[in-house]
Structures are given as C-alpha cells and as structure tokens.
C-alpha cells in the first residue's frame, strides 16, 4: 500500500531523530549539521531545477486562452484570461498563484441514464488546497520569530491575527488546526475519490504525511510537552544557525529534534519531488505567455530550416493539367517533341 508505506517512512524518520538525538554528541548532528545540509540541498536543488527548466527554450507560443482574445475594438477583450500585455500576464499569474483560479473553475461530472452528463461546480479541491497552502505560509512566517533577532514587527501582527479567537493557554493558533485539517482533507480526498486514488503515487502521500507529522510535533511542543522544551535554547540555536554561529546550550527535548529533523527531511526532499510545483507554476508556458502571437513574432531559437514542397516542383508535376484548366503557370508547356 502506497499510503501505508508513507506512514512507515515517516515513522522511521521520527525514530531516527528521537533516538539519535539522545546519543551524546549527536545533538550537533541533528541540530547543526543536518539543518545546514538540508537547507543547502533545498536551495541548491531548487535553483538547479529552475535553471534546468530555464535551459530548455520555449519554442512556440502555446498560451491557453480561457477567454476572449484581443481582436476588434467592439469585441470585449478578457484581459485576465487571454492576456495581451506583460501587465495582463502578471495579473493572470498573480491571481493564479494567490487564489488558485484554475482550481476555482473545477467542475464535477456525473453520468445519468439517458445518457445525460452534468457538470456541477465543485470547489472542494480549491478549498482544501487554499486551507493547506495558506496555513503552511502563515506557519512559516510565524516561525521567523525563532530565526530573527530582533523579531520583525509583522510577525507580531500575524500571530495576533492567527490567534484572534483567544482560545486555550497558550493561545491556539488557527493555522495549527487548519494545517492538520488541510493535510487530513487532502489525504482523505486521495483515498476517497476513486479516480484520484487510482492515480496517486507514494510521492503524493508521503509529503502529506510528512507535513502532517511536522505540524503535529510542532503542536505537541507548543501546547503539550512545553515543560520539556527550553524555548530560549531553541531560539539561541536557530538564530545561531542563521548567523552562522550555532551553539547548543543546555539540553533541548527530543521532540524538538524530531520536529527539526522532519523539516530537514522535507527540505531535502523538496527539489527532487512534485513539490517543485511552487516554482514550476511561474514557468508554465500555457499560463505565462501573452496571447499576442499574431501581432508579435515569437522566436524559436532552434527553428529548423525546412522548405515547403516547392511551387516549381508542384507546377512541374501538374503543369499540363493546369494549362488545360486555364490556371496561370510560371513556365509554359514545353513544345511537343515532334514539333521540335
């Protein structure tokens, strides 16, 4: 089972960090060496992937138009769906990345007796994806409190907003709940929707389980296992990592190392996985190209030199018929042999 294997893999990672970090001397491996390695793999790998994509040219203008293109003055141009200028493309991409517009369009089809096919708006995937991605984003931003000293002013704003319901002590963050919820919803959808289950690979389950577990360990640290955690030491370590002078003071609980190790695993996994969609979406030619291909020439760097079957060759083959039919020709018929 693909999803069962994902659980096993994450369990194994948890065990490695939980046990490994308790061995004397190992905290430096888990707290310093691996994080540096992971971030290097993440940055290096992501840049490498993007550069690799960039190396391949975009030979043709293959925009997908999802609305009326710019043509005559009296035909209303849909600037977002068939962008004609760079600004319009930027607007299209911005809304795609920030609001997932394409997913918002999603429909679900059903086939009934008749036959009759219906297509109903289906916003679940859009909603789940929004919950998941925005929770993830807010959590990453909130974590800047731990990496930056002094703490940037906006971190406080985000925390206030995220904890606006003032429930529990310490105050529960909304995104702590919604990131778990997002993972569970996306995972359940993979299992429950038959066609999505059929196409799902281990590569699809594993990141969800991993991110779920990262969130779970973080939540445990903040809300449950607080007494084992020395937040001052953690901050010291993380600020140290950022300023390239890491120190590990007093003992930090195993749960922290588990959390950190899973994050390292996610970072290292990132560039080699489908998670690269975060960069790829910006480079997708069907979305980021202008629909002005008849107004401005798009150049293909490897355009091969291929000539059409020539008119001269065509006329040579059919000249007699053409002359007979009164179609103009470039070269008149050769005089018949016996007249020479």
């Amino acid at each position: 089972m693909k999803y069962a294997f994902s659980f096993l893999a994450v369990m194994a990672l948890v065990m490695i960090a939980g046990l490994g970090s308790q061995i004397p001397g190992m905290p430096y491996l888990f707290g310093v060496a691996l994080p540096y390695l992971a971030i290097m793999i993440f940055l290096g790998g992501s840049v490498y992937r993007v550069v690799q994509w960039g190396k391949s040219p975009v030979p043709f203008s293959i925009q997908t138009t999802c609305g009326q293109g710019k043509s005559l003055d009296f035909i209303k141009h849909n600037k977002l769906e068939a962008p004609n200028t760079t600004a319009e493309v930027v607007a299209r991409m911005f809304l795609e990345v920030v609001t997932f517009r394409s997913l918002f369009r999603n429909t679900k089809s059903e086939i009934y007796d008749g036959p009759k096919i219906t297509y109903e708006s289906s916003k679940w995937l859009w909603l789940f994806a929004l919950i998941f991605h925005y929770s993830f984003l807010v959590i990453v931003l909130r974590h800047m409190r731990l990496f930056l000293d002094p703490i940037p002013f906006w971190v406080g704003w985000i925390e206030t907003l995220d904890g606006i319901f003032q429930v529990g002590a310490p105050n529960w963050y909304i995104t702590d709940v919604t990131i778990l919820l997002g993972c569970v919803l996306l995972f359940s959808r993979r299992i429950a929707t038959r066609h999505v289950r059929f196409i799902s690979l281990m590569n699809d389950y594993f990141p969800l389980v991993l991110i779920f577990t990262i969130a779970l360990t973080g939540i445990l640290m903040r809300y449950v296992l607080r007494t084992n955690i020395d937040i001052v030491n953690i901050k010291q370590l993380l600020v140290g990592l950022v300023t390239f002078s890491p120190t590990i003071g007093a003992e930090i609980g195993a749960i922290f190392y588990i959390h950190l190790f899973l994050v390292c695993a996610l970072l290292a996994y990132f560039p080699f996985s489908k998670l690269m969609h975060f960069a790829g979406v910006f480079m997708s030619p069907t979305r980021n190209m202008k629909n002005d291909s008849r107004a401005k020439r798009h150049v293909n760097p490897w355009n091969p030199r291929i000539l059409p079957h020539s008119y001269a060759g065509y006329e040579d083959e059919f000249r007699e018929f053409m002359v007979d039919a009164g179609i103009p020709v470039e070269k008149e018929l050769a005089p018949k042999k016996d007249e020479e």
Partner: protein, 542 residues
C-alpha cells in the same frame, strides 16, 4: 467493428463498469496492458506513405514497414529503445513545456473528468493525468534521481514494448483539445504530451494512415484530399454554379492570380464534401457581395494542417506553403477560412516557424478600412474577424428571416477557443443573421467539448470510439435540442462539419451542422440578386 446501436451505447456509457461510472480498478494502472482489437485503433500508416514522407527534405519518418497493432510483434527497429530514450532527451532539451509538465504535476485529479475521451469511455488511462503518466513514468525512470533510486515506488518504470503499445493507444485517444489545461492549476497541457508521444512513436515508424496519407497528399498536391489543381478548380466552380442558380449572382473567382489583394485559404474539405460545401458557397457569396479582390490557390489549397498531428517538422513544412504562395502571388495579406486546428497553427506557430512575413502588409479591410492590429505580424485574418468587422460597419445587408428555418446553437472549436481566444466574433455574427441559443455554460467557450474526432481521428474504423468521445458535446446539443428545438449546430471548423455530422446523426438525429459563413450567406442580401424563396437556405435543392 460495427457501431453499437444507440440504445446499447447509451446504456454502456452509463452502466458499463468503468472508472467514470463508479467501478474501481483492482490493480495498479501499470499492470493493465493495452489490448488492440478491431474497432479500438486507427489503421497504421501504409509503408509507402511513410517512406514518401521520409524522402522529403526536412522530414524524418524512418522505419516504414507494414505492421498491425493487433500483432504481438510490431517489427520495431532493433534499437528502438535507444531511439525512444534519445528522442525523449532531445525533446526535453527543446521544449520547456515538456520538462515543466513532466515535473510539476501533483496528481490532484482536477483534469480527470474534464476529458471527453474519459467521459465517453470511462477508461482510466484516458484521464489526462494518466495519459501524461504514461510518459512521465518513463521520464522518471531515465531522467530523475528519485525515479532511479526508488523505481516503481516513485512511479517509474522502464520503457518496454508494452509501454510503447500503451502510448500508441492513448496518444491516439486524445484530440489535443486542451480542455484539461484550462482546469489544471499549473496549466499542464496534455496536447503537448500527446504531441511528444506521437513524435516519439514516429521515430520508430508507428503512425496512423488517416493522418500520414493526408500529410503526404498535402505535401504533394497542396491539399489533404489529394485534389490535383484542375480538380480543385472544378470543385470550386461547381460551387460558383450553385451560388448562381440559388441567388442569380455569379461569384467572380480566380486561381493562382498574381497581384490580387488577398489570398484566401480554407480547409480543402470545404470544397469537397457536405456540409462544408455550403460554407464554401457562403465564402463565395460573401466575397462577391463586397467585391473583394482575392484569389484562391491550388498550390496552397489546404488550410488544415495534418502535420500538426505528427511532428513539428511536418507541421512547418506544410504550413510554409501559405507564405510561399502569398509571396509568389504578391498579395497584401491572407484571409483564412473556418477551421479549428488550422487556426491553432496560424495563430500560435506560423509566424514563429515560417515568418517573418515581411513581404506582406499589415491587414487592412478594403471595405471598412479597419486595420487588423491583432494580426499585424502574421498578416493573416480569420474570416469571422473579417465578417464581424463588415457587419459592425454596416457593410452587409441581412434579411434574418431567410434563416427562419434555422434555430442554431454555436459550438466553439477547441483550437479557436483555447488556443486563440476567438469566441465572441462568431457570436456577434450569429446575433445578426440567425436566431440562436447557447449550450449549457460548462460546455461552451473555453470549456467547450471537442467533437471527439479531431487531430486526425475522424476515421471510420474507430466509429464507436468517436461516438463515445463525442458524447459530451452531443449531450450538450441534445439539451438545447430538447429545450429550444435547436436544429442546427453552427461552428467554425471544417473537421467539426464532417465529424459533428456523424455525431449528430447518431446521438441527435434532426440536428444539422453548418459553418457560420453558411448562415451569413443565407441571410445576406446581395446587390443585383434574384433569389427565389429558399426554404432551406443555400441547401435548397432547385
């Protein structure tokens, strides 16, 4: 191979065990082999057609041979595996789209039920994501670290003859309609994937005759029907006679005439078969009514480009005739007739492949003076743009009652809608000439459904498949047929005119298919005409 009875197929698409109807496959998708039997594949290309194309400069169609999909042994060249992997590498280096589309899919499934082939067949491998996975699995195996380390667990597999057979089956059950790319959060376009699959298959001599014979015809005679110059001229002249007998006005036409202002190119099917003929008669009547100075060409007598369905080299070679002929004849610009995939090539590929067309002028309507800025570089104008502009300026006089026998709906062809954004020009025209209604909103404009037989799949041996894949389109027509008594499906595509006719005859008898320009000509009042009561417009038998 016979097409099942309507009742049978109607039941099958709803109740037949398939992923679309609710049955859940028990095995992993890699475990299901592609099985060929009469009726589920298009006939392979004749060896001599492949060899002819391979002999043409700039084209590469190697390994011609007689073979059959049903045979165990496809007589592949000994080094086919290296050819395929090397071909894939080359294409990854040439097309960023391919790399991005191989890497970014998250298998969210948004595309799954957007495909007309999936909806009609219920075959899981017809989900666009799955079609791409057929290639992606090989890509992972040979070109990614994760695939090399984790193998099958990471969705990688080695390329085998079985994989190749799967590619052949499913790249010819995709019409490159791009509907899935509208819904994909990353804009992944299965048309790109299908194009690559077909290009790779051609490298090992695997292709279908319904595509490669038209390609070789187009190359040699100028049009995919293989009409020689005199026959092409005869056909158009028959239509001139018909227009004259219907309207009393004899359209003035010319062929290969140097110095004409405009070169007119339309799919050759328009001058060859019903109901396209009536659309062609429409062009003749329209151009006569406005006194356009234009010429037909027998050399560039094909608007459609079957090369698009093979590889980019063949597309370029066929397309190159348009500019070559425009240059030879010294025209100012080109007007293109109603066609879907022709317009994908013209709008998105022509200028890049065969431009710059600096020997032509920026298109200006000689009647209204409108400058077609949107075609400033390509110098080719769509007939619907040209006509809509005429109407806007009041240059055409209509008697809409002449279309009172018609209640129309409008089918956006995939390519004009999703690869061009031509949606409202035809609608503007229809508003002026006929009473018409829209189909349901999730089946029109950018969400339009393919006729089910595009990209060279309009061949009779796969008729059941075509009726299945055309079901979503037919079903939306049925909705307006039942609700609004629609009896005519208007479109701007020559393949549609041929294929939707079969589709309507099967699913919705009583609904005809026509080009928009046919409806224009029906309603058009031409100066000096002497038109009898035409109960059936240009289709009236006198």
């Amino acid at each position: 191979m016979a097409v099942p009875k309507l009742e049978q197929l109607s039941k099958s698409v709803v109740q037949g065990p398939s992923l679309a109807t609710g049955a859940i496959p028990t095995m992993d998708w890699m475990e299901y082999p592609a099985v060929f039997k009469p009726g589920n594949y298009a006939y392979p290309a004749k060896a001599e057609k492949v060899a002819y194309l391979d002999s043409q400069s700039g084209l590469h169609f190697p390994n011609s041979r007689e073979w059959s999909p049903e045979d165990e042994d496809w007589k592949l060249p000994a080094d086919w595996k290296e050819i395929i992997i090397k071909g894939l590498k080359e294409r990854l280096d040439k097309f960023r789209s391919l790399k991005i589309f191989m890497d970014c899919c998250v298998r969210c499934g948004a595309c799954a039920d957007k495909c007309h082939f999936f909806l009609g067949t219920g075959d899981p491998k017809n989900m666009p994501v799955m079609r791409a996975e057929l290639l992606r699995s090989i890509y992972r195996n040979d070109f990614t670290l994760a695939g090399k380390i984790f193998g099958k667990m990471a969705g990688a597999r080695e390329v085998t003859v079985g994989v190749l057979k799967e590619w052949f089956m499913y790249s010819y059950q995709c019409t490159e309609c791009r509907r899935c790319s509208v819904f994909c959060p990353y804009g992944i376009d299965t048309a790109e994937v299908t194009m690559m699959l077909r290009e790779l298959l051609h490298l090992v001599g695997v292709g279908i005759n319904w595509i490669l014979e038209p390609v070789s015809n187009s190359n040699r005679t100028g049009n995919h029907m293989g009409l020689q110059p005199h026959t092409f001229k005869d056909n158009v002249e028959f239509l001139v006679d018909d227009v004259e007998s219907l309207t009393g006005v004899r359209p003035n036409i010319s062929f290969n005439r140097k110095g004409a202002e405009v070169l007119f190119i339309t799919p050759s099917a328009d001058v060859f078969a019903e109901p396209g003929l009536y659309t062609a008669m429409g062009y003749l009547a329209l151009f006569e009514a406005i006194g356009l100075d234009y010429t037909w060409s027998t050399y560039a007598s094909e608007g459609g480009n079957f090369g698009l369905f093979t590889n980019n080299e063949a597309m370029k070679k066929l397309n190159a005739k348009m500019y070559a002929e425009a240059k030879r004849l010294g025209v100012k610009y080109i007007i293109g007739g109603e066609c879907g995939h022709m317009w994908r090539v013209v709008h998105q590929y022509m200028d890049t492949m065969n431009g710059p067309a600096d020997f032509l002028e920026k298109p200006v309507s000689p009647i209204t003076g409108t400058v077609f800025e949107n075609a400033a570089s390509t110098k080719m104008v769509h007939i619907s743009e040209f006509t809509a502009d005429l109407i806007k300026h009041g240059k055409l006089k209509f008697d809409k009652s002449r279309n009172s026998h018609v209640k129309a709906t409008y089918h956006d062809s995939c390519n004009t809608a999703r690869a061009m954004g031509l949606m409202d020009e035809p609608r503007y025209i229809l508003d002026h000439v006929v009473d018409w209604v829209e189909m349901p909103e999730n089946t029109i404009r950018e969400q339009t459904f393919c006729c089910g037989s595009g990209t060279g799949l309009n061949t009779d041996e796969i008729m059941e498949l075509r009726m299945r894949s055309g079901l979503p389109r037919a079903n939306a027509v049925k909705y307006v047929h039942d609700k609004h008594d629609v009896n005519m499906l208007a479109c701007v595509c020559a393949i549609d005119r041929a294929t939707l006719t079969s589709l309507m005859n099967y699913w919705n008898p009583g609904v005809g298919v026509c080009g928009v320009t046919e409806l224009v000509a029906n309603a058009l009042v031409i100066e000096g005409e002497n038109r009898a009561e035409l109960d059936d417009g240009f289709r009236t038998m006198l």
